[in-house]
């Protein structure tokens, strides 16, 4: 039996001190990937919401604030990088995890330079993914904690 390490199902929001499930947004143009990721995240007790395109996601931010967003890099229209840049422009402090089918060194550098917390290649191993999400949230928590001080 595989040992699952404890997933950061809960986080303590300093300002609310509530135990809430983490909300993860998944943006990918491929439906099967969206469904699979959503299932995996739910199996890990994470609340996942999937979006077909970057545009859809950004539009939804008004009503749904995720704690992390998983962005597919290659999408028609706005790709992952564009979404990320848009978020930074809008000043949304959302941690970004980039996933992609291609592994190109310059794109990796670009994304990380743009502020992505992680850059992962498909197919995604659950541990790697969850770990990346944890780190992303953790950084954010730290940052927010820092900002509170």
């Amino acid at each position: 039996m595989v040992q699952y390490t404890a997933a950061p199902e809960f986080c303590y929001r300093p300002w609310r001190m509530e135990k809430l499930p983490l909300r993860i947004a998944v943006v990918d143009d491929d439906e099967s990937v969206r469904k699979a990721l959503k299932r995996l995240l739910r199996a890990s007790n994470l609340d996942a919401k999937t979006f077909e395109s970057g545009g859809d996601f950004l539009a939804s931010l008004a009503s749904y604030q995720p704690d992390c967003v998983i962005l597919d890099l290659h999408m028609p229209g706005m790709n992952g990088l564009d979404v990320q840049r848009q978020l930074t422009r809008n000043g949304v402090p959302l941690p970004v995890v980039i996933i992609t089918g291609h592994d190109e060194p310059q794109t990796r550098a670009q994304c990380l330079a743009a502020g992505a917390t992680a850059y992962m290649c498909k197919p995604l191993d659950e541990e790697v993914l969850l770990d990346a999400i944890r780190r992303a949230i953790g950084i954010r928590a730290h940052e927010s904690a820092e900002s509170q001080k």
């Binding site: 595989v2 790709n79 089918g101």
Partner: protein
């Protein structure tokens, strides 16, 4: 008497004259003749009475009998009774007033006219029998029958009658008188009448010269006559002189004017003589003299008239001889035929001057001797010709024919064809050899040229590598070259067997062709022979002992009036193998470029595979987590598994499509829906398009007719165009990166797909050679992609072309023919 109209210079052309009896054929002429004869009878009788012997019923001359005879000779037999009818009154008119009794008159009439009848009948009969023998024979017939036989016979009767009636006292004296009188009358009066009738009938105008001559002759006669009459000599003394002086004139008349002239001259003589007699006292001694006179008349007339006849005959024969000679000359000249005449004993040979001239010599330069002629013969032909001629001279065989060469004066060779035949003498012994000689140089030259041409064409045929045969209009082989014959004998029964001459090749092809080739070849050959096809080509395979050979059969029509065709088989194995190799290499290249394209798309393809793999992994890992939970959410598990299966299938199809594209397969033409192919290609390229931020705009026409093409190769072309389009737009703004694909029905039963980009367009200097191999704008490109695409499209019977868009970018069009099966 046959034609007496020899008085004119132009003789009738016919050598034989039909009987000139029945000269008077027209009823008018006949009527006139009858009247004239009646009148002549009367006046002749009066004249006769005037010349009568004293105490004798007979005259020196009795014209009426001669006139009657002449009438009988001139008139047709059926009118003889009319003649008698007309003559009787005249006879009566003369005799009765002279004191004769009616019975006597009647009796005399009967005997006289009977004499005329018999004479005329005899003359006609014998002349008819001997009509071919010549004029002189007819003359003899006349003399024998009319002058001698008839008067002789009837004088018996006549003398008897006169003796009985007491008019004569001495039977033989009377007989003699009557006989001589009638004979002389006949010979003197009948010829002129007949000549006159002939002349009137022929109506020939004598020339001025002849008329003048005749006039002169008449004047001479008149002169002599006048002298004789004026002198009134004693008959016996001057008779010889009389005759002697007139004889030249008689001969002149006979020779120059023929029978007509002779008879007129004789008449003249008689007139003169009678005129001189008028001065004599008639005594019994005179009677003897008169008998002598009659005999002399007879004796002179017959030879002179005979002379005239013979002379006429001679002149006619000379004339016809001239005509014959003229014809001969014309014939030999026109036909370039020369005649030769060789006497084997003496060696003398008559050679026509034209023959000598043909060799460039004048007549005198070659002697008329066989040896002289033989000198000019070609040394190879001389002995042979001499042998033939000698054999002919002996009669073994009595004729020969030989072609031989003669040397012209200028040294050139002339060919002559000589023919000769042996002429034997009366005893059957060889006399001379005569024959013809024709210049056949031209014929030989032409024959030589033809032969040369034949040799040349034969050599050409023989030297050809291809197997060539000539068939006639019916498809039967008439000739074949060496290569054909050799192949046919070495490989009997091979495909489209190389049959021998005389065989119906169409049938052979039908039988020996493989499968459907046989009938189609037979049909093709027949079409070319019939003129409905300009030519017929067929490539076929032939398995020979040393391996498989490819042949090409070509049938072309033979341009000649008889028709026919030329069939040739060429061994194109080497060419075919080269073609096959070339095709194989092309296929290889096509495959390589396809692999290359796929290589370019490898990233995208990897991405395509990655998506389902991601789905599978994540779904599976999710399921693992769910399984660890309590309670088991089976629904969730079920959907997760379903998603896994789907994702796997999707991956599988990508692999499958990839495999198909990577396969090095043979071209498989199928009816395809172009829209489906476009969609397949877009799926393949999807990731790449996404990666490049290219937006695809599709306008696919519904109900597009299907096209007949190979799926993989068509996908290759479209992929190539799409990849090119994407690469063209690398420098374009992402928002402007639009790839447009439009499918629509094209013109003339075709379907068109257009791939347009918004790139920089095709540089103007590259537009012409865009589809040439090794032309590329890419930094790392071979430049083969578009040329391969074009060859693929061309192999499908379509067209590929590019156009720069007026906005920006370029459009590539592919037009493909609609599948014959019809629309979907």
């Amino acid at each position: 008497m046959t034609s007496i109209a020899a008085g004119d210079s132009d003789l009738p052309a016919a050598t034989k004259q039909a009987s000139s009896f029945d000269v008077l054929n027209g009823p008018v002429a006949q009527a006139l003749a009858l009247l004239a004869s009646a009148a002549a009878y009367y006046f002749g009788a009066r004249l006769g009475f005037a010349m009568r012997f004293p105490s004798s019923p007979y005259s020196i001359l009795w014209p009426p009998n001669a006139i009657v005879l002449a009438a009988f000779l001139l008139l047709p037999t059926r009118l003889w009774w009319v003649c008698l009818l007309v003559a009787f009154p005249a006879h009566v008119l003369v005799e009765i007033p002279a004191g004769l009794s009616w019975p006597t008159t009647f009796g005399l009439f009967v005997t006289n006219t009977a004499q005329g009848l018999v004479a005329a009948a005899l003359v006609r009969y014998f002349s008819g029998k001997y009509v071919d023998a010549g004029a002189h024979v007819t003359f003899f017939v006349f003399v024998a029958c009319a002058v001698f036989a008839a008067p002789l016979l009837f004088s018996f009767g006549d003398a008897a009658v006169n003796l009985l009636t007491g008019r004569a006292h001495d039977y033989w004296g009377a007989w003699r008188l009557r006989f001589l009188s009638n004979a002389a009358s006949t010979i003197i009066f009948v010829p002129p009448i007949l000549c006159l009738a002939q002349a009137v009938r022929e109506c020939r105008r004598p020339s001025l010269k002849r008329s003048a001559e005749a006039l002169v002759l008449a004047l001479c006669f008149a002169t002599v006559g006048a002298i004789v009459i004026a002198e009134s000599p004693v008959l016996t003394n001057t008779l010889p002189l009389l005759l002697a002086s007139l004889l030249p004139l008689l001969l002149w008349g006979a020779i120059r004017f023929g029978k007509g002239g002779a008879s007129c001259a004789l008449l003249g003589l008689v007139l003169v003589t009678m005129g001189s007699l008028a001065h004599w006292p008639v005594e019994s001694g005179g009677q003897e003299g008169i008998l002598l006179l009659q005999a002399i008349f007879l004796l002179i007339s017959i030879p002179v008239l005979y002379l005239a006849t013979v002379h006429t005959d001679l002149r006619r024969s000379v004339h016809s001889q001239e005509v014959v000679t003229q014809r001969y000359r014309l014939a030999t000249t026109a036909a370039s035929v020369a005649v030769w005449d060789w006497n084997p004993r003496t060696g003398a040979m008559f050679l026509e001057p034209t023959l000598k001239r043909r060799l460039g010599y004048d007549d005198h330069e070659i002697a008329n001797h066989i040896d002289a002629w033989m000198l000019h013969l070609h040394p190879d032909d001389g002995p042979r010709l001499q042998g033939l001629a000698n054999a002919c001279a002996r009669g073994e065989p009595p004729a020969f024919e030989d072609e031989h060469r003669l040397l012209h004066r200028d040294g050139s060779i002339r060919w002559f064809l000589a023919r000769g035949a042996l002429v034997r003498d009366a005893g059957g012994r060889p006399l001379r050899v005569m024959g013809t000689c024709i210049d056949v140089t031209d014929r030989h030259r032409i024959a030589d040229e033809l032969h040369g041409l034949e040799v040349l064409s034969g050599a050409v045929l023989a030297s050809l590598n291809e197997q060539v045969a000539i068939i006639d209009r019916g498809g039967v082989i008439v000739a074949a070259n060496d290569a054909w014959i050799r192949f046919g004998s070495e490989n009997a029964g091979a495909t489209f067997d190389r049959a021998a001459s005389g065989v119906d090749y169409v049938g052979v092809c039908r039988r020996t062709g493989a499968g459907a080739d046989g009938p189609s070849a037979a049909q093709g050959i027949t079409a070319v022979l019939g003129g409905s096809r300009a030519d017929f080509h067929k490539e076929y395979v032939c398995v020979l002992p040393d391996g498989t050979h490819w042949f090409e059969m070509v049938v072309v029509p033979l341009r000649r009036p008889d028709g026919g065709a030329v069939v040739s088989h060429s061994d194109i194995t080497r060419r075919r193998l080269a073609e096959i190799e070339s095709e194989r290499q092309r296929q290889e290249l096509t495959h390589l470029t396809r692999v290359g394209i796929l290589g370019a798309l490898s990233g995208a393809l990897a991405h395509e595979l990655n998506q389902p793999l991601t789905a599978i992994l994540s779904n599976a890992q999710a399921m693992q987590r769910f399984l660890a939970r309590e309670p088991l959410d089976l629904v969730e598990l079920g959907t997760a598994l379903k998603d896994i299966v789907e994702a796997d299938k999707r991956a599988g199809s990508v692999i499958q499509r990839l495999r198909a594209l990577l396969k090095r397969g043979e071209t498989l033409l199928r009816p395809l829906d172009l829209n489906k192919v476009v969609n397949e290609v877009l799926e393949l390229a999807h990731s790449d398009l996404v990666a490049r931020n290219v937006t695809t705009a599709c306008r696919l026409a519904p109900d597009l007719p299907r096209v007949r093409s190979d799926r993989v190769q068509l996908q290759q072309v479209l992929l190539n165009l799409i990849v090119n389009a994407c690469e063209a737009m690398t420098d374009t703004q992402p928002s402007e990166r639009i790839l447009t694909i439009v499918t629509e029905p094209g013109d003339r039963q075709s379907v068109q797909v257009c791939v347009s980009d918004r790139g920089g367009g095709i540089p103007a200097d590259m537009l012409d050679g865009l589809f040439e191999p090794f032309i590329t704008t890419k930094k790392h490109g071979l430049g083969l992609g578009l040329s391969i695409c074009r060859s693929i499209v061309a192999a499908h019977g379509g067209r590929l072309w590019a156009v720069n868009d007026s906005g920006r970018g370029a459009s590539f069009f592919v037009a493909l023919p609609v599948s014959p099966e019809g629309t979907d």
